[in-house]
Symmetry: C2
Subunit: 517 residues, 2 copies
């Protein structure tokens, strides 16, 4: 691939140019809600006892370059991916088989599975299931081809975040590219910045909110007697710093779809919701603590928590999760759908030997589309004894082309390249099954950008960008009928290269947007 | 007047209700740009070296009650007031005569006057003059009448602020009153909060931006050769905390009117603007420091600084003011228009003996309108020897009904009631001419509200509210022809009662909105 377009981008900033961009972005962010609550490292709890402060979300000063062919392909495949993960979620036996080993060794996965089994035993009160997904990709540079190919990094089935803020970053960069009106001079002259091109339309907020509204409307009338007004619940973490990302969706659902939304801390679920034991339909009744004489029936539960083990601080949190799972509310996602997002599923789908799981799940889809989907899979392996994965991981010469990832989604803590053999030898062999070995994607090596961090530091250098595409799907677990399947909106996240190698201190990870080429 | 409607308002908040409102408002403010930069008292410079933090503007939890008749009257009179202050500004001789004494004793007024004289000597290069005004009122309770009357507190002719944020507060309170959609329960039940009524439409941003656009468009073609693209300059203070108020106008002018706007620190005026000495039209040329190869011609200079003596730190600031005044840019406001906003003008207009200045200035206006305008004047007096004002101010028994205000606009530091006689005796008699004695307005005594301060503290109690109405006018100083005269938008500011009496520490001064009754 011809990587030369990256070499001269972005243009150099002299101090006055950087000062102008930083000031403008800093102010724009606070004016338009492109903000986060500051971390305790930036502002201590004592300096901010009432939590009133906000600061800009970390953002790049420039939009990043992104291959148009990869962007279009990622968009084109999103509804296919939506459908695939719905189909997987409908096949409980398959999930169980794939997860079997993991259930044995991973408390988190095991506890999720127990929630599913308990509700299954009682019988699910709701067969509709909602997915608000984000599929993350990188363009992969290969010596075999002049064009970059699209490779999937991960597929998120729970709490897919940044849809709210990412559309704001696209607006910010678009404004910089076109301001002042008629005589744009916010950026220094550069062919990519003066072509009149702006980032592609970003409808992430509209798409995700429309998904929630589709579930809300599909829920049907109140199952309570007497009937209750209906609402959507956003279940959230305590001390969430990324709250304004969530509030962007909240606002869209409330203003455009006129649906009541309440935010509920995960620790408060059991205090403020109930399922009347006398009602076999199991409606989820929410009583707002600030208006105890009013009750709402929750049609949809949207999780922005419960995706990581740290979200379950005690048995009570598991109880709360099970409580919501057995209710009649449509979950986004169900426990099964969350489990379908584990890395091991991605790995099994990508296996090139044995059963063709992809074709089984997508029986009605044409071969060409399936081939394109498969093309986005990065080669990946489990670490079973005698397998190819174990061989590649333990050999220092081959390990440098791989990343070791926890099988669980959202687990973090990837191990890279030459660190892999030593790491594996440092943990019990019995735990190796918790890890997936994935061939490293080779992103454009000359990509560069400059970022404004949340603490106001400005840092530039070589970067790696990850593009996420949002999709929403509503389906019936009983039979797999799809009621709503859409793609729309995207996220560009850009990290300083050293961050991906494990370093954090001097680096950055920023929200970004894209200019296509 | 029947004050009973205030007695039961606002409703009591239990802890859960208050928590809900405070959290919702805090988040809404940061999401929607209803924010300010935190004061150094809240967050030290060291904790926030890059100035990235923002916090909610101080706001009331509830909209305040306001008499509909007073609101309508204030709106109806705004274009008349606009015209009056344009007419005063056109009469330089009259201003000089009224100001004569003040010019002698007040350096600030004297320096402004010198700027005018210097430019006058050279000849003004621009006869168009733009006013973005705010007329501030209180409803006055009188034992003589059952209805409250409208009394003017002051008329602002320079840097009339809060238009940007006040419309956001109206939106915030409207949302609280109507949310969640279909089942509003954000506020506890109360007849005024459940009637479906929301604050009146607040078009302050649209009105002020339209005023700036009117001036920009009236400027005509470029006076430079070769012709330059045109822009508006917002001239601002260093470390402005209320920047998001200004940015709301900036955004409206840029997005709706497609006019380039640049922010220019008052300390940078002489560095980045120039008037070509070879061009007798004296265009004001702005060179953005981040794009030195581009030049713009400023059609309009909008001051959000230079209104107080502290804005002029050295002779260079006066030089900068004079530099802009002699340019061809339309000033908002001119020095003469700023001087017309001095308290002494208000006082002379309110005089009930001697020349009827009001009728002279407004010769074409019907007697009824003039009577209504006069009705809004609070009785006020100068402190000249042997005059009624001096007598009222020095007698402790009469002083309790008055406030002593500096003659200059925006001077602050009012002296109240029984403190007046001692204060006057503590300063040289020669300085008394700098002060105006004004009969205290009696606002509704039972008005109450609760405020969320910028530091997150929540305080409630008895309050005094001040309503401002925005107006814009563009006229030709040469002949007085009016090209644009509009009213639109309002500001409600609510202070804890003790603040107005001089106390600050435990009080609050908040942005608010109104519910009419």
């Amino acid at each position: 691939m011809d990587d030369s377009i990256y070499s001269s981008y972005p243009p150099h900033l002299n101090p006055a140019q950087q000062e102008y961009l930083v000031t403008t972005i800093k102010d724009w962010a606070s004016q338009n809600g492109l903000v986060v609550r500051p971390s305790p490292a930036l502002i201590s709890q004592e300096s901010n006892p009432h939590g009133v402060l906000a600061t800009n979300a970390p953002v790049t000063l420039f939009p990043s370059l992104f291959p148009k062919s990869c962007f279009e392909e990622a968009k084109a495949l999103q509804t296919v991916y939506n459908q695939l993960y719905a189909a997987i979620t409908c096949n409980e036996e398959w999930i169980e088989k794939v997860m079997e080993d993991l259930i044995d060794v991973d408390d988190f996965v095991s506890n999720l599975w127990k929630v599913h089994l308990a509700v299954k035993k009682e019988g699910y009160a709701q067969t509709l299931s909602l997915g608000l997904y984000r599929s993350d990709y990188m363009p992969n540079i290969s010596s075999n081809s002049k064009d970059p190919s699209l490779k999937q990094v991960e597929f998120n089935t729970i709490a897919s975040s940044f849809g709210g803020l990412s559309s704001l970053v696209a607006s910010l960069h678009s404004e910089l590219l076109t301001s002042p009106p008629g005589h744009p001079i916010s950026y220094p002259p550069h062919p990519m910045l003066t072509s009149g091109q702006t980032p592609p339309e970003n409808t992430s907020v509209e798409t995700l909110a429309a998904g929630l509204a589709a579930a809300h409307n599909a829920y049907g009338g109140s199952k309570s007697s007497p009937a209750l007004p209906s609402c959507i619940l956003f279940v959230i973490q305590e001390n969430e710093r990324n709250i304004f990302d969530q509030l962007a969706l909240f606002k869209q659902v409330t203003k455009t779809h006129k649906i009541p939304v309440f935010r509920l801390l995960s620790s408060e679920i059991l205090n403020h919701t109930s399922i009347p034991s006398s009602n076999p339909s199991r409606p989820l009744v929410y009583t707002p603590p600030h208006s105890l004489s009013t009750q709402f029936e929750a049609t949809t539960v949207y999780y922005r928590c419960f995706y990581a083990p740290t979200d379950y601080k005690s048995e009570r949190d598991w109880e709360a999760r099970a409580h919501l799972e057995r209710s009649a509310a449509i979950k986004c996602p169900t426990v099964l759908n969350q489990l379908a997002g584990c890395k091991i599923v991605q790995q099994v789908l990508a296996e090139t030997t044995g059963t063709d799981h992809l074709s089984s799940f997508m029986a009605g889809t044409d071969a060409n589309t399936l081939a394109r989907l498969r093309e986005t899979f990065a080669p990946q392996f489990d670490l079973s004894a005698g397998g190819r994965g174990r061989e590649l991981a333990l050999n220092p010469e081959t390990a440098v082309n791989y990343v070791l990832k926890p099988q669980r989604e959202g687990g973090g803590n990837n191990i890279y390249k030459s660190a892999i053999p030593d790491f594996l030898r440092s943990i019990p062999e019995g735990d190796w099954k918790r890890w997936i070995l994935m061939e490293l994607i080779t992103p454009p090596p000359n990509a560069k950008n400059v970022a404004l961090r949340s603490d106001g530091e400005v840092l530039g250098g070589h970067v790696i960008g990850e593009l996420g595409i949002y999709g929403t799907i509503l389906w019936d677990q009983a039979g797999g009928n799809i009621l709503h399947n859409e793609q729309g909106g995207w996220l560009m996240r850009t990290k300083a290269k050293d961050v991906n190698e494990g370093g954090v201190a001097s680096g950055f990870s920023s929200l970004d947007s894209i200019l296509l080429f």
